[in-house]
Each structure stands twice: as structure tokens, then as C-alpha cells.
Amino acid sequence: MDQKSRFVSIIKAHEGIILKVVSFYTNDRDDRADLYQETVYQLWKSMDSFKGASKPGTWIYRVALNTAICHLKKSKRGIRTIPLDPEVLELPDSDDTAAQERIKTLYAQIQQLNLLEKGIVLLYLEGRSYEEIAAIVGLTVTNVATKLSRVREKLKSQINKTA
């Protein structure tokens, strides 16, 4: 399999990760389309350095999270995007109204977090172990645990404020 086909199959297998990271960091559809395409491009650019030493999922998280930080502020710099089917960029709706409401609250809470907390919380929500989070984020395992416990406190105090 040549590099291009290998890349396409990795992206297709992990498109859910890209969508989740992108939707975690953007509110607006244009920004989402832009960040999505930039993430795919950055992954393609770093394909040479990805030798399979880590799992493709870990590599995709790392590049997608870093792209979200480094690219968001530059999104209005005139780089063109290709038109994408809106379905590609939309998270699936739930039939359950209560579940939809929970997702809405979840996103409102995420907006209150700073960039570092956002990254750690996203990986935690994704079910990654503390060791994996530490490796992707570049902190120690203890530090990750401390930060998550601070996020818990922050969320609790937000609930108390709104109650």
C-alpha cells in the first residue's frame, strides 16, 4: 500500500476523533470546516514522521489538539476550504431530548475551561488513561490527576453558581 492510500485509510478509520476534537474547539460552522481541513492537512504533512511507534489514534489526537491551538486564531487568513457535506461536520443528533440537553450543557461547561484543561478533559472524556493523557499532553501523570481534580472543583463551583 502506498503512503497516500495508507494515509486515507487511517483518516477514514479515525474520522470520528477528528470530528470530536474539532467540535470541542469551535462553535461556528465555518471555523469547524476550516479546522477540520487544516487538521487533515497537518496529519498529511506529519505522515512521514509517524513511523507507527505510537498508535494511530494517539498520533491523531496529538496533531488534532495541537492544530486546534495553533490554527484557530489564524483561521481568517484567507486559506481556502473545499465545500464539505454538512453531515461530515455535524455531530449526530440524539432522538432523546434529555440526552440532547445533556450534550448542550456539556458544551456550555467546556467553554468555561482554559486551553490546557480543555485538552485534558477531552482526552479524559474519550476514556484515555492518565498515562496516555500525560504522554499526549506532555505533563506528568500526577500533574494530569491534579489538573483533573481542579476541573472537578471548577465544575462543581459552576453548578453551585448557576443553582
Binding site: L91, G119, L125, L148
Partner: protein, 197 residues
């Protein structure tokens, strides 16, 4: 909503997202090709226009240098040319540096750190730019007047309009840039402190 509840909601969403198979081979190829082409364009349009404008202005000044008579004005003219050539070059090299970072080789915390430092550096450059622009204005207008064969000392418009107007613009721009600078600095510093804690 507490973190564990958030996790349950996210897992629910994740199960649906992971099943999605909406990207096609063609879409992925188009995305990378389009971005690659855009990157070949390199620098964004505003920087291109500003650079061309500065270089044309510098060339015009050099070509008309023989029309500057007083030695002090010749020094001011040389400073104006230096400003018009050096500042865009610094700006372009800063932009080029921003593109050098490889996003797969650094951790998330390192990316945040670099981004915060970059923002601080950029804001500092804006402050320097502002002061340099004001200095440019102060040296350029007398040169322009001298090139027209007149003297600054005998030019009432220079003192009545250009100087007060220039100072007003400078003060307004300073206020705005410093406000942005302080805001960026405190946000970036708190992020850096958060990483190092």
C-alpha cells in the same frame, strides 16, 4: 454537570460518531491538495500588499533622494528608507517562523506554551511597530516638505495640522495597542503558569 456525568454524555455521543463513515477518498485528497496549494501562496494578502507598498515607497524615496537638500533631511530620508525596508522584512520573517513548527513533534502543553510565547512576542512587535511608525512619521514629513523645496520651519500646515493630528492618532493607537497587549499578556501568562504548576 459533573465530570463523570459529562463522560457518560460524551460516551453516548462518541458511540454514534465512531460509527460515522462520511469521508470519501476523494474528499480527503481534495482537502490536502487544496491546503497545500493555499500554503504555496505562502503569505496572506494584507502582508503582501503592505510589503509591496513599503518597497514601492522606499524605491520612490531613493529615486528622489537627489531632491533632498539639507544634510539633516538626508539623514531623515535614509532613516525613512531603512524603516520602509526593514520593518516589512521583520514582519515577513516572523510569519515564516510561525510556519516552521511541526505539530506532530511537540506535546499539547508545548504547543500551548509556544502559542502563548508567540502571542507575547507578536504583541511586543506591535508596540515597537507603533513607536517606529510614529518616529517614521516625524522624520518622513520634514523630508517630504524638503523635497518640495520648502522648509519645515516655514511651513505652518506642518505644525498646525500634521503634528497635532499625528500625535492624536499616535495616542489613540497607543491606547488600543497597549490595551490588547495587556490583555494578551495576562491571558498568556496565566496559561504559562498553569502549565508550569
Amino acid at each position: 454537570m459533573e465530570l463523570e456525568e459529562m463522560k457518560a454524555a460524551w460516551e453516548d455521543l462518541g458511540r454514534k460518531v465512531e460509527k460515522q463513515d462520511k469521508l470519501t477518498h476523494q474528499m480527503i485528497e481534495k482537502m490536502t491538495e487544496q491546503r497545500y496549494r493555499s500554503r504555496l501562496d505562502g503569505i496572506a494578502l494584507p502582508e503582501k500588499i503592505a510589503t509591496v507598498f513599503c518597497f514601492v515607497f522606499a524605491a520612490a524615496l531613493i529615486l528622489n533622494f537627489y531632491r533632498i537638500h539639507q544634510p539633516l533631511m538626508q539623514v531623515f530620508g535614509a532613516l525613512s528608507v531603512a524603516y520602509l525596508v526593514v520593518l516589512p522584512l521583520i514582519s515577513l520573517s516572523m510569519l515564516r517562523d510561525l510556519k516552521k513548527i511541526s505539530l506532530s513533534d511537540i506535546s499539547y502543553a508545548e504547543a500551548i506554551r509556544r502559542q502563548a510565547q508567540k502571542r507575547i512576542r507578536f504583541q511586543k512587535f506591535q508596540v515597537i511597530n507603533l513607536v517606529a511608525s510614529f518616529a517614521f512619521m516625524l522624520v518622513f514629513f520634514p523630508v517630504l516638505i524638503d523635497m518640495m523645496g520648502k522648509s519645515v520651519a516655514h511651513e505652518p500646515y506642518f505644525w498646525m495640522l500634521v503634528v497635532p493630528f499625528g500625535i492624536a492618532i499616535f495616542l489613540g493607537a497607543s491606547f488600543w495597542v497597549l490595551r490588547c497587549y495587556n490583555r494578551t499578556l495576562s491571558a498568556a501568562e496565566s496559561l504559562l503558569a498553569e502549565i508550569d504548576q
